[in-house]
Amino acid sequence: MNEEKTKKEDVSSEDTVIEIVNMHKWYGDFHVLNNINITVKKKEIIVVCGPSGSGKSTLIRCINRLEEHQKGQIIVDGIELTKDLKNIEKVRSEVGMVFQHFNLFPHLTIVENLTIGPIWVRKIPKKEAEKIAMFYLEKVQIAEQAAKFPGQLSGGQQQRVAIARSLCMKPNIMLFDEATSALDPEMVKEVLDVIINLAHDGMTMIVVTHEMGFAKSVAHRVLFMDEGEIIEENDPEEFFNNPQNDRTKLFLSQILY
């Protein structure tokens, strides 16, 4: 990755798009998220890292209510997440999510995977939805596969389709849940490139990843989680060169050779 390509966009606006205040979550008795406080500004890119089982996936899954929090507040785009189904559906349609295992719909073609959200949630006519779909497929450089089924594509291609599917909903925020962890090594780059391009377009993103190189070059802030708590929060330079917390140091020493 060369210097110019990875130059970070400035966080121009000071608008807060995600606000998480004193949030707790338990699985049974297990305190999986403990007093989480995060504020995400528009166009900000936040990388969340930490050992497995530290609650990073659960955290971002709470942001579009795939998981329910039990205490505290989560406010996304001015809408507080409560039991209100209408609000939940509204937030979900504003927040794109990309999963570790792609979760494409295997019975639908690529283009149908992309248009299903716009047609049924946004009520856009089919023709127009297909136009939008092709635009984003071009963007992730996979337009020629539009008529195929997900099962016929490689892992990297499937993940790019999954990103395009989220983008078709024109989300304000994108969440990436270990989007490259299930990929063969040679496919990681093609997916990271797509995410980096999104970063240049000024998308607000929260990225859970183990790709530290990516974190270093793209993130505005890095959050380190362990045992359900945010242990350290810093800009990437400081985080990697001068970690404060012992657990962060240990984690970094274990993953960086």
Binding site: G96, N103, H107, G117, W120, P150, G151, A162
Partner: protein, 363 residues
């Protein structure tokens, strides 16, 4: 290595000729070891000594013409069919107007055949079904357009079997899907109701349900109100089959990857959209083979309506057999209706395999 040739610099080696083709197949499957050779010889001789006499009985010594005197020959008496096919196939439907049920059945079968091809599934076919069902009803029931009225109690034979199974299965399947979804529901009342219903119905034999529908159920109706016996049997069959379909479909729903629900949720699709567009198309595809098993056995179970006195295919056959002239030729009669059942079931399972192939998207 009998054949080798060069292709793009690669040497293509063909398998030895003795392992391919018919000789190869015979050697591989029938005579691969001394033990298998002995088995092959034994089985072929068993077939030889059982099938030949059967063919002799069924085809060569047999009598085919109506009213032939079967008692004098040793062979099969197919005359029982050729003399009584009207009773066997149509029960007590008035014999001078049999063109009406025949036309109705022809209409039904041709629509079923057209509907096999999913390319024809459009609004036009839907309307054709609705119009044809009305026409079939008018043809069978009569009473208008100058057609002689035929009492429903007189419908019998294949008319009744098709009526009970086509409507039974088409109504039971969606009902079963709804029950399966209900059983997976997060709403406790709906869930409890569905579990209770499914377990209750699956816990009793179809025969007892049919008895209840014909004996117990009318006791609860106000005096003077009666519901037709065929309709009551139809409802019992639908309720029974739906419970089994529900459990099969539930298996498919549980087999779904959790990620599919999450992906649909994260796009903002609501519950009904998620189920209709994402989950059911996949889950129902997974359960095509077991669902077809349930539907086939439900189709055959329609013959149990015999016990509540409805004249379906099996009962009309038995009626024929009770005539003194035809007593003792039950083998022929039962072979005949077995063939009818087999053809119907064969087309169902054949269609299910075709559907599986069509819906296969490689994942």
């Amino acid at each position: 290595m009998e054949l080798t040739k060069k292709n793009k610099g690669k040497v293509i080696v063909k398998p030895p000729i003795s392992s391919i083709g018919i000789p190869g197949w015979i050697r591989e499957n029938l005579f691969s070891s001394p033990f298998n050779t002995v088995l092959t010889i034994i089985i072929v001789s068993i077939l030889w000594f059982s099938i030949l006499p059967f063919l002799n009985w069924a085809l060569i010594d047999s009598s085919w013409l109506p009213d032939a005197n079967c008692r004098e020959s040793d062979g099969a008496c197919w005359s029982i069919i050729s003399s009584n096919y009207k009773i066997i196939l149509f029960g007590f439907y008035p014999q001078d107007i049999l063109w009406r049920p025949i036309t109705a059945i022809f209409l039904l079968v041709s629509l079923l055949f057209i509907s096999r091809n999913r390319n024809y599934w459009n609004a036009f076919l839907g309307y054709s079904w609705i119009i044809s069902l009305v026409i079939m009803g008018i043809l069978l029931k009569g009473g208008i357009l100058g057609l002689e009225a035929v009492d429903i109690e007189r419908w019998g034979g294949i008319i009744l079997t098709l009526l009970l199974s086509v409507f039974g299965l088409t109504a039971a399947y969606p009902l079963g899907v709804i029950l399966a979804l209900g059983r997976q529901s997060k709403m406790p009342v709906i869930k409890t109701f569905c579990v209770f219903y499914i377990e209750l119905i699956r816990g009793v034999p179809l025969i007892s349900l049919l008895f209840m529908s014909s004996v117990v159920f009318p006791l609860f109706l106000p005096e003077g109100v009666s519901i037709n016996a065929i309709l009551r049997a139809q409802i019992a069959i639908i309720m029974f089959t739906a419970a089994y379909v529900a459990e099969v479909v539930r298996g498919g729903l549980q087999g779904m990857n959790k990620g599919q629900f999450e992906a649909a949720d994260s796009l903002g699709l609501n519950y009904f959209q998620t189920m209709r567009l994402i989950i059911l198309p996949q889950a129902l595809k997974i359960v095509i083979p077991p669902s077809v098993s349930v539907l086939i056995s439900a189709f055959k179970d329609t013959s149990l309506v015999v016990i509540i006195g409805l004249y379906d295919l099996l009962k009309t056959t038995q009626t024929t057999l009770s005539e003194p002239k035809w007593m003792g030729f039950s083998a022929e009669a039962y072979i005949f209706i077995a063939i009818i059942y087999f053809v119907c079931c064969f087309f169902m399972s054949n269609y299910s395999r075709k559907l599986e192939k069509e819906l296969d998207t490689g994942l």
